[in-house]
Amino acid sequence: MSERVVHIRNLHKSFGDLDVLKGVDLDLFREENVVVLGRSGTGKSVLIKIMVGLLRQDEGTMEVLGKEVSTLSKRDLNAFRLKIGFSFQNSALYDSMTVRENMEFPLVRNIKNLTKKEITYRIEELLDAVGLPQTINQMPSELSGGQKKRIGVARTLILNPEIMLYDEPTAGLDPITCVEINNLINEVRERYKTTSIVITHDLTCAKMTGDRMAVLLDGQFRAEGTFDEVFPRATDQRIKSFYDYNFTET
């Protein structure tokens, strides 16, 4: 069995009176793609935000790459974050910067003594990898939703992360662009040997990108396994309806 890179046990998180995560357990192994599925508001994004230290759990352990995230000092947390790439739901490109500046931003602040040539080479290489070399001098407002997602992924990859976290990568995109993004997620894993967690409620995305599914219901993972193990023969009515809504209707 390959090396375990994420180890989550009995994770709890609440916001005021609302208990979002109620004892989540999950393990993730190197170069594995795990898809976390669940309806909106079930705490999927909260889970990966705890993973990068944007939120802190109320209870439980969140060990990533052998480190308990909640106990890291500010300095260690920054060093740790270099190994984690986070692709945001709305891409989160910096509005006031061009695509080049967006990609330069984390690079020049984290890797010192890079020459201009090296920076440009790295940016162009990644823009090629996501199929958008022509956008280098464009502003985010000039890009389509799919292009923004791709640039967001490229910006994330610029620091060579070991783990990629995708928050709703296909949300708000047309079906063809969704397939392109799903292919990109798979390409990224093959090319950069990353381990990934994909947060989604899109079963097509889950089927295309996931080695393993984990279905989050009522603050806990209620089903885990390959797509075929979890969905077509699901006995839990909520998981079954999730599948039916995504596939039977179409």
């Binding site: 709890h12 984690i84 709305n90 989160a92 910096y94």
Partner: protein
Amino acid sequence: MAGEASDRKPFISKKIDKFFKGLADAWNFVKRFWQEVFLPPYEFKEVIHQCYRIGVESLPLISLTGFIVGIVFTNQSRPSLSEFGATSWLPSLISIAVVRAMGPLVTALIAAGKVGSSIGAEIGSMKVTEQIDAMEVSATNPFKFLVVTRVLATTFMIPILVMYTDFVALIGSFLNVNANELVSLSTFFVQVFESVSFLDIWSSVLKSLLFGFTIGIVGCYKGYNSSKGTEGVGRAANSAVVISMFLIFIEELLALQIVNAIRGM
């Protein structure tokens, strides 16, 4: 544990607790600014960019306003002085009023409206679209890049804008005085410089530094802590202006007391 925070009974009442919590948050925000401002890495390029945005891009509005203030104040003062046959004192009166109070106050209020709201809205929209989170997860320091740079830029640029406003207001005043009393430019400015003391200029500059800091820090604080989507961004921009203006008046009042005390020594 779950629900703990909301189950806790308010210390006095929810509103008062919220007010004091807000004050504590604001204090921590200011404290964090002073902690981060001296620590490397320094974002010089961004500070210069923000200085350009805040300073140069405010010039047209500041110029027009300063010029009008000079003309209007001269016109309004003339009847009172002419009753005593003292219209020749107009340059002295205008220069003292402009340098001591009107220049700093008018510039700061305009900057609070223009710059404070834009900082609040810009950082607020970055917050709600997760751009600040994106900076944080890429192991960079958004506070340093967004807050420290903007606060430094407002703190440096407002005093410069104030001196510029003083100059433009005095030019407006001169044109009015020249048209009505036929006073030459050299006579006008000799009288201006005779009336204004070093204390007036220094107090004006120091006060402007404080106004600039206030505009920057309030705009950044409101933007950085905005929530609830686009509505929250609007609210952040609005409260950045209102709170900055309120604080500027309080600071003006305090500065006046301090300068008067020094003058009386």
